[in-house]
C-alpha cells in the first residue's frame, strides 16, 4: 500500500470527508470554484487522521463573487466606451484570489477596468499593492502612503514575494 511520506494538504468538494476525499493538484484547485473543505491527512501505518483547515475566507469568497459578476458587463458598461471584461481576466483573477487565500491573505478590492482588465488590490495601513490582470499581461504597482514605489510585470509564482513587500517594515 502506498502511503504519504509527509503531511499533505487536500481540499474536497463534499463535506463527507471520509468517503469522498480526493487528491488534486494546485492547478485543478484553481479551476474548481466549488471546493469548500480543507483537510490535513497524516499517515500513521495504515491509518489516516484527518483535520479540517479553514476553507476560503468570507471576504475572498465575496471578492470571487464580485469578479464573477463582471461577466455581465457588456461593451460600454461605463457609458464612456469601456470594453467588456475578458473571460481570461476573470478566470485569472479568481485563480489569484484563491492563491492569496491559501496564503491567508484577503483581497481588499476587485474592480473592473475600461480595457478588459481587472484590478485586484491588497492593502495594509500604509502600503497598497495593485495587481492588474489584462487578457495578455499582468502588471503590479506598489504604492506606499499614496506615493508610487515601483511597478512591473508579474507571474503567479511571484505573488507571495509581492505580498511580502506589503508586510515589510
Amino acid at each position: 500500500m502506498t502511503v504519504l511520506s509527509k503531511v499533505a494538504s487536500f481540499r474536497i468538494q463534499d463535506t463527507n470527508i471520509i468517503d469522498n476525499y480526493s487528491t488534486t493538484t494546485n492547478n485543478s484547485l484553481f479551476e474548481n470554484p466549488s471546493y469548500s473543505v480543507g483537510l490535513l491527512i497524516e499517515p500513521f501505518d495504515s491509518a489516516i487522521s484527518i483535520t479540517s483547515v479553514n476553507s476560503i475566507s468570507i471576504e475572498n469568497q465575496e471578492t470571487i463573487n464580485t469578479i464573477k459578476s463582471f461577466k455581465s458587463l457588456d461593451n460600454n458598461w461605463d457609458e464612456d466606451g469601456a470594453q467588456a471584461i475578458s473571460l481570461f481576466s476573470i478566470y485569472k483573477s479568481i485563480e489569484i484570489v484563491k492563491m492569496l487565500d491559501r496564503l491567508n491573505i484577503d483581497v481588499y478590492l476587485a474592480a473592473p477596468g475600461p480595457n478588459k482588465e481587472i484590478l485586484l488590490m491588497v492593502k495594509t495601513s500604509s502600503k497598497e499593492l495593485e495587481l492588474i490582470i489584462y487578457p495578455n499581461k499582468m502588471k503590479f504597482v506598489k504604492f506606499e502612503n499614496n506615493e508610487f514605489i515601483s511597478q512591473g510585470d508579474f507571474s503567479i509564482e511571484e505573488i507571495p514575494s509581492l505580498y511580502f513587500w506589503t508586510q515589510s517594515v
Partner: protein, 131 residues
C-alpha cells in the same frame, strides 16, 4: 485664454474628471476614493488621452452631466505635471438630443505610456471628490 491644442500652464489649474458611478464599480466602497481604473486612458477610444474639463470654464454640475450616472473628481495641474503628464486645451462640439453642444472647458491629459500603470494610480490617489 487658450487656443485648441495649447498646453495649459497655469500652476493653479484644476481639472474635473467625470467618473461612472454605477454600482460604484470605479470607486473604493470603503473609502470613496476612485480606483486607478477611473483614470486609465482607453487606447482604442481616446488614443491614450484622458478626457477632463478645465474647472475655471465650467460648473461642476455641467461637467458631471447626469448626476445619477456619474460622479465628479478633481485633479490639479501640479499633480499632472509632477508625474510628467501634460494637460492640453481641447474644446469640443458634439450632438446631444439633436442639439449641438459646445464644451469650451474640454481638455485632455496626455503623455501616458500604455505600459505605465503608475500614473493612473497616482491621479486616482490625489483626486478629490467634487460631486
Amino acid at each position: 485664454m487658450y487656443n485648441k491644442g495649447d498646453e495649459i500652464i497655469e500652476l493653479d489649474a484644476i481639472f474635473y474628471r467625470r467618473i461612472y458611478r454605477g454600482d460604484k464599480k470605479y470607486i473604493d466602497k470603503k473609502t470613496g476614493r476612485p480606483t486607478s481604473r477611473a483614470f486609465t486612458p482607453r487606447p482604442n477610444k481616446d488614443d491614450g488621452k484622458l478626457s477632463v474639463d478645465l474647472s475655471s470654464l465650467i460648473t461642476p454640475k455641467n461637467s458631471c452631466g447626469d448626476l445619477l450616472k456619474f460622479t465628479l473628481y478633481s485633479v490639479t495641474l501640479q499633480t499632472i505635471n509632477s508625474i510628467e503628464l501634460k494637460a492640453i486645451y481641447d474644446p469640443v462640439k458634439y450632438i446631444f438630443n439633436n442639439q449641438e453642444i459646445t464644451n469650451k472647458a474640454h481638455s485632455y491629459i496626455t503623455g501616458f505610456d500604455e505600459d505605465d500603470e503608475s500614473k493612473a494610480g497616482t491621479l486616482a490617489r490625489s483626486s478629490k471628490n467634487i460631486l
